[in-house]
Symmetry: C2
Subunit: 509 residues, 2 copies
């Protein structure tokens, strides 16, 4: 299908005309008309890109993706190159717009999660398959993908990275093509970074800054990744929580003991662990660690308003999850995501079920993740938690206690953390660039976008955002129910086509 892709590329190698200051009122119509007329070519370019295997560890596939993407950018007038890093290469593009007073750094990634082809309901995750609806709802294959001129909005393309995160790159290119076809151009200089290691935590991104600082300089970053709000509405995301994980292991006797012979006399580590864990939260879900919420200011009225405007449906979520009231009944979902969380993600001690035996276990373990916000960096949070545990009378160790340690301390817990965590990031939605972007989308779609002040999950590029030091905002386009990271990942084409208009709006802000 490279012929088709090449046709698009050739349409936009012209130089940009002088920038327009204001977005035309009919931008949406113009982009939609372009997309409608060019569905076949746009989808063909996406299908071709999805056909190149992109597991992060597949060096050959990664190199092919990088070169294909470099040519895609080059075809849109970018100065495009493949930048070597300490890991997989970055694809970099630079497009100067005469008269532009702002430079946007657009981030996306081209690597995908590892695949187990046997789990996919199609011959290969890298042979895109079109369905006339969501597979789980009975969507069936639409044959003849390469020969179709029209695609229904509810049709879905099934392939690894269909939504995470190749389609936003194709949508960006299509948006530029659409602007060109309409006699328009971006209102900002554009730089593009396409990451080849996002699914592995983007380990080479921050180190690359030292080498490519001037290339990466910009006034703001737009992140093309992630799904839109479950309501389906156009969405902007201004931040993401960070995360730090750790394990607590409380010690009982050196080996499991008969609960009859020693029960009441030898301390039970599962009871101790339960008592320790119980000290972390009150009954309303408020975390009792000193300083857990330190530095977090109350929301400003505009921020509260923004949170309140998010069209969450708590009744629907509660029914879906089978819960009657949230942890804290006074807090909305969006409000909950503005503060750090303390989550027990695993518990274990001896056996439950069939294997249960009448013993005092030798130890009890808990796995914990703490989601962080901008005001609560990972390492400081771990220190506060360690202090809290000490306050409960525990001797905190980092390796299994030896006999002398066991003999000396009544309460011993091992606290281990495998990594230093990922900090949160947050761009104020009140900054000019934030407001300009919101305003641009409002103008395109006739209503303000859903604005997420902080998304609950964690993104690996947070340290990159931190290191670059300029504002970053996510502009997601894909459907929420995309099976991201799992088998049968998919992209709803209606979301994809609308995403081209979303990105065009952002480029015209």
């Amino acid at each position: 299908m490279s012929r088709v892709a090449c046709g698009i590329v050739c349409a936009c190698v012209t130089m940009w005309p002088a920038p327009m200051r204001a977005q035309p009122a009919d931008l949406r119509q113009r982009v939609e008309a372009y997309v409608s007329a060019n569905q076949r070519a746009i989808v063909a370019e996406l299908v071709e890109l999805l056909s190149i295997p992109n597991a992060g560890g597949d060096g050959d596939g990664i190199a092919k993706n990088a070169e294909f993407l470099r040519r895609m950018l080059e075809g849109r007038g970018f100065g495009a190159e493949v930048l070597q890093t300490t890991g997989n290469p970055l694809v970099f593009g630079d497009l100067r717009v005469p008269g532009a007073t702002r430079t946007l750094l657009i981030y996306s990634h081209y690597d995908g999660q590892p695949v187990n082809p046997a789990d996919w309901k199609q011959p290969s995750p890298f042979s895109p398959l079109l369905r006339d609806g969501r597979m789980e709802d009975g969507g069936r294959e639409v044959p003849g993908l390469g020969g179709l001129d029209r695609f229904e909005p509810d049709w879905r393309l099934y392939a690894r990275s269909a939504s995470d995160d190749k389609s936003p790159i194709v949508a960006l290119c299509a948006a530029l093509d659409a602007l060109t076809a309409s006699g328009l151009k971006p209102t900002s200089n554009l730089k593009v970074i396409l990451d080849g290691e996002e699914e592995a935590g983007s380990p080479s991104l921050v180190p690359a800054i030292g080498r490519y600082r001037s290339k990466f300089s910009a006034d703001a970053m737009l992140i093309l990744d992630g799904p839109v709000h479950p309501s389906g509405k156009p969405t902007l995301v201004f931040g993401a929580r960070g995360i730090v994980t750790f394990t607590l292991k409380v010690y009982g006797p050196k080996f499991a003991l008969h609960s009859g012979h020693y029960g009441n006399w030898v301390p039970n580590p599962a009871t101790r662990l339960a008592q320790l864990l119980a000290t972390f939260k009150d009954d309303d879900g408020r975390v009792l660690v000193d300083g857990f919420y330190a530095g977090i200011d109350p929301l400003r009225p505009e921020e509260q308003q923004m949170l309140d405007a998010v069209p969450d449906d708590p009744a629907q979520l509660k029914a879906l999850f089978g819960i009657s009231v949230p942890e804290n009944s006074q807090r909305t979902l969006q409000e909950s995501l503005q503060v750090p969380s303390f989550n027990i993600r695993g518990l274990s001690s001896a056996f439950v079920g069939e294997g249960a035996r009448t013993i005092i276990p030798d130890s009890a373990e808990a796995e914990i993740d703490v989601r962080l916000v901008k005001e609560t960096p990972a390492l400081a949070m771990l220190e506060k938690i360690r202090a809290h545990i000490r306050k409960q009378g525990y001797h905190v160790v980092s390796t299994d206690p030896d006999d002398a340690t066991r003999a000396r301390y009544a309460k011993i817990v091992k606290m281990t953390t495998s990594e230093s965590g990922t900090n949160a990031y947050r761009t104020s939605p009140l900054l000019p660039v934030s407001q300009q972007l919101s305003g641009a989308l409002q103008q395109v779609f006739g209503e303000p976008p859903v604005r997420i002040r902080t998304s609950g999950g964690t993104v690996p590029i947070a340290p990159f955002i931190d290191a670059l030091g300029f504002p970053a905002i996510s502009v997601p386009i894909v459907n929420f129910d995309n099976n991201q990271h799992g088998e049968n990942e998919n992209l709803r084409l209606g979301h994809f086509f609308r995403g081209i208009a979303i990105i065009a709006g952002a480029l015209q802000m």
Copy 2:
């Protein structure tokens, strides 16, 4: 080896002479002299009995054991028969002693725990093997078992049921033979019940009372089972704790959720379970369930004295177990066993270790056992615990909650128990029969026996003791480190030979 066994049998089919009122001062010497002269025959009878497979489900082996044992008793002058029950048969023996004013019912069992021969360091668990010491300490096989006349006290016989519980039956017969050889006889009428289902919880024992009530009537029961105190001293046990087990399952969302997207908002079941479990005990190990200790009187001075006289070695136990202080530093091990315990024997929620994922788990479970004392029967205890859980705001269910239940209650826990538990039993050590038995052993060994008011573990014959209604006391003889219930079960022969003197003393009380 039946020829040898038969030789012993033939030595004691004479009628008993008139009872002697007082135990002779040299009883120990007389028994020891008999045992010393007859080691070969005594061990041969034990080896022959151990060679008959006795897993409870092996009907053929069980029948062979029963008939062999019936003949053993018959050979000692008992009216002996095999009694059919709803399960495996009982072997019953009745020996009237002219002039005796007391009847003792002696209980032992002939079935053994299931075996996995591959785990044993010998060709078969039913081919007894002699070692010159404890296998774990390097004890090596002593060849020519059938032809030996002398056995060292530290030698051990390895076979299933070597200690649990065939050797006490052989020791009882040898004790009777030794008395006869010394011109002595028991001071009580004797009835013997040999159980064929103890390892399966003795389900047919209580039902058998209805059918055989007059046969089972007696003034007191002696239980020949279990090990002596770890100090190795002769021991009497006046009671055993009961047990009731249950499972608690706390519910979170219907399926595991992303801890970033919903952490702080969707309740975490592991946190809830920890908070619930933490309410059960204070930091000193005192259980906080209303009425948990109800009806338990303070110890009487004689009882306290008895507990204090038990030669436990807490420093050695603490070093062995790797603990610095017991759950309640004010309580000795023996004191701890006089009250019910609350023991978390298993915990589970989602995953720990390699499999840990950043999720809010869908549920969290705890397995619990409560050891009971005579004053706290199982079913009443379960009710108190259920009330305690309700007091913490939980809706208690017995099956997984449906959507309507989930929608109605914020806190839901499933409490399930697979059985109705086993009650404790306790015979007052201050009863005349208790004091007579202690006195008899003191006279034989020159010092009082270790007297255990309540052993921590649970015995399945507690309901049988309860139903019969007369006092029961355990007279253990075997070594503590016998690998009971495991592979490589063994009997230290020094304990076995001394056990013959212990039982002879009991028969002469």
